[in-house]
Symmetry: C2
Subunit: 467 residues, 2 copies
């Protein structure tokens, strides 16, 4: 397949989807037709359906159980804390990062920037040169967020002093962690460094966190994030790169408690303003909500369902329910995106961040059809958004009845990526993402879409075949 024209409801051609040959995309684009590149590859020829593992486990039943656990999860924001105090395994000289394990030497620019910035924010380094030296030394231990029940957007750096949200999966009792979202632009998670970045982080630690924490302490039932994600999917969010509705619902839910526990109404006003001015605030709640739902689904023998998809800006890695400790990695992909005016594709770092936990959980790119307006941020057309979700049903094991898509007549979102189906169809999981500048210190340059790299799934499939 080299070119496809899809028709809308009324028989008119909508746009050209170009798969495989980007030179063709360029020539079509030159003619003024909207065009979207999709990282498509032909399916491996006649991949046989794996049905039973060598040890005799029924894979379909294992996958049923995996998805049952994901769907049963009920993530609730219960409290907050400081990373060093609450994240298991965290210590004073540890820095957590997004994606699979990576050494300082192999870290991409934005992750390096975020690490250096975090060391300055922590007071462990006095300037960038000092931070770079410390970061490269053995004094700092690096570890993936995912090894600590945590997730982090973009660089995903968590340092000991950072406040984190604590999400409890009420169905299983496990907990997940994530920092507070800083907003867009020159921010730490996009590799941004500078006094304004550290000042914002300090304000989030000393003002925002205490206000939110006091409010949460006054809410014995916490805040039900599953219900909030479900509502937001009916309000044009997919809860990865569009969180405007969910951020609004969060502010509605915590507003009365913020008011009742306020000690200073100017601070209260600033806290509301900070959240109001950042439509991505809820991302750092939708992500750990997904992590909290996925962890109980890990460790099911024979399961071919993906329970982790994460990128560190150098490598893309997946882990499966049946092999929850093992990473299958491949080079991180190139994002096809929309750029802020002063930046171009040449500035872009490869795909980065733990935010693919949303796709892994059954929203984000899986629920693109719920969020037609997201195309103004990440590119593409509303029709492509619809088509993307429909395509994702081809590679998922289940549909999430808690998360439904009105435009698809309230059909449940595609949930539980099945490595077997990815191999059989050649369809790779859809990802929405922000784009970081490839140099440390600069920050966000745009947003876009891409597919997960095939090699992770190929390698995992090879192991599954011999399981």
């Amino acid at each position: 397949m080299s070119e496809t024209t899809i028709n809308n409801l009324f028989g008119k051609p909508l746009s050209v989807i170009n798969v495989g040959l980007s030179s063709m995309a360029q020539s079509v684009e030159a003619q003024g037709t909207p065009v979207i590149d999709v990282d498509w590859r032909p399916p491996a020829e006649s991949v046989p359906r794996l049905r039973v593992t060598r040890s005799g486990v029924d894979i379909e039943a294992a996958n049923d159980e995996t998805c049952r656990r994901i769907k049963q999860g009920r993530p609730v924001l219960v409290s907050m804390g400081i990373a060093r105090d609450v994240i298991p395994g965290m210590h004073e000289r540890m820095i957590l990062h997004a994606g699979p394990p990576v050494s300082w030497e192999r870290m991409c620019g934005p992750t390096r920037g975020a690490v250096m910035g975090a060391l300055i924010y922590e007071g462990l380094a006095k300037d960038e040169a000092d931070a770079a030296k410390l970061a490269a030394s053995s004094a700092i231990e690096y570890s993936p967020c995912h090894h600590h029940h945590a997730v982090g957007p973009m660089a995903g750096v968590v340092s000991p002093s950072m406040p984190v949200f604590i999400i409890e999966n009420k169905a299983f009792g496990n907990r997940a962690f994530c920092t507070q979202n800083e907003g867009l632009g020159k921010v730490l998670r996009y590799g941004g460094m500078g006094p304004e970045v550290y000042a914002r982080l300090k304000w989030m630690e000393t003002t925002l966190y205490p206000a939110l924490d006091r409010a949460l302490q006054s809410l014995p039932d916490g805040i039900d994030l599953r219900s909030m994600i479900a509502q937001a999917l009916h309000m044009g969010d997919e809860c990865h790169n569009r969180n405007r509705a969910a951020t609004s619902l969060f502010l509605r839910a915590i507003g009365p408690a913020l008011a009742r526990t306020s000690r200073d109404n100017e601070v209260l006003a600033q806290v509301i303003e900070f959240i109001d001015r950042n439509d991505h605030f809820f991302l750092n709640l939708s992500m750990p909500a997904g992590k909290a739902m996925l962890e109980p689904a890990e460790g099911i023998p024979g399961s071919t369902i993906v329970t982790v998809m994460a990128r560190n800006g150098t490598d893309f890695g997946i882990r499966l329910s049946s092999m929850p400790e093992r990473w299958f990695t491949a080079p991180a992909g190139k994002v096809q995106g929309l750029y802020f005016p002063q930046f171009t594709e040449a500035d872009a770092n490869p795909d980065i961040g733990d935010s693919t936990v949303t796709e892994t959980s059954g929203y984000g790119g899986m629920a693109m059809a719920a969020a037609p307006a997201i195309t103004k941020f990440v590119g593409g057309t509303p029709q492509l958004a619809l088509k993307t979700t429909l395509e994702m049903y081809e590679i998922t094991h289940d549909e999430h009845e808690q998360f439904t898509i009105p435009a698809l007549n309230f059909r449940g979102t595609p949930c539980g990526i099945d490595v077997r189906k990815v191999m059989e169809t050649g369809i790779l999981p859809q990802i929405n993402t922000g784009i970081a500048h490839k140099q440390p210190g600069i920050g966000m340059v745009g947003a876009g879409i891409l597919r997960a790299p095939a090699r992770c799934f190929e390698d995992a499939f090879e192991v599954l075949k011999n399981q």
Copy 2:
């Protein structure tokens, strides 16, 4: 046409639309196919297009100007006030109501209930019997909201002590007025009476209003409602019967000012809770926003565009840009709806309220395609919602570029109902609405959809032909 099957994007039949014969709808429904009744009538045979009035005015140009003014409108919430002080023509013994003029004798149950309740709330009557006596006497003057630059949902009753929002159309300088929304259930605007109704109204007058008013006074630029409606249309609202997103955005916008001007944080918490618990709070802002946009478009000679559509529960009335003082009325229609568990169609009052100002302005039922999830509240399917908006383009003169629908690739909403096109196509304007109990004192019983009555348009067209 008696039956139509529409196909979705993928060639599968979605549902059956039944027009005209409800017995056929019943038989199809019995077979388990989703079915929707549409109040359809065949177009009048070969209605000639009116192009020039007898006095030589080019109607197309007049309609262009009418729609230009509607679309140019920029409604901003600038302040609040008490009805007796701020609504032109209001006095101590005046009660405003929704729809065209109606006497006490011809008032429907819910409007009577709301009038009696308002008299008790005002302290002008001590109980319902007393209120009924006073209401029927010449001591009370009734007047339509629309005669006072105001609009009111459902019964639309405005009494002298009620606080109102003041919306200014910044492009033209005119102002529009609307009360605060009480919430759903047993509330005055649905004809609800009782101590809890009056207590709520009193709290809204003495606590909610001062808090919102102080906050607004601290915002010199006010709150831009056009921008808020535009955003909400990208978030699953149509801003008539679904205002969840817009209510959320309003709370985000006013939140910091509420905090800065708060005198008592328990009150602040209650104010936030009141708004949070009422997804329809924004309706009483989306309605006067529409009124503020429509009034500058009144009085254009030769225009066949509808600038008022309103119902008092007895009559449905429209007014045209070219004849802004003249009502064309017909009996109010029967709503096809979803009912709260204890109620049925037998309890329903006919169509009521000024909220059709939203359809007149280019959102509400016109923008159903933006709000697929509304079908859980008013009935129908997401596919019918899409189809409804497409149908409305057939009877509107223009598309509102400020209000766009992501699912239709950001096409502007159908704007400016043209009486000529209604007559030529036989397509009547779509209306979403709440349903009031037909007896005074009870309140809301459900929500649903219907079409405007043909006779208003037929009568207006006859006059237009001789203009």
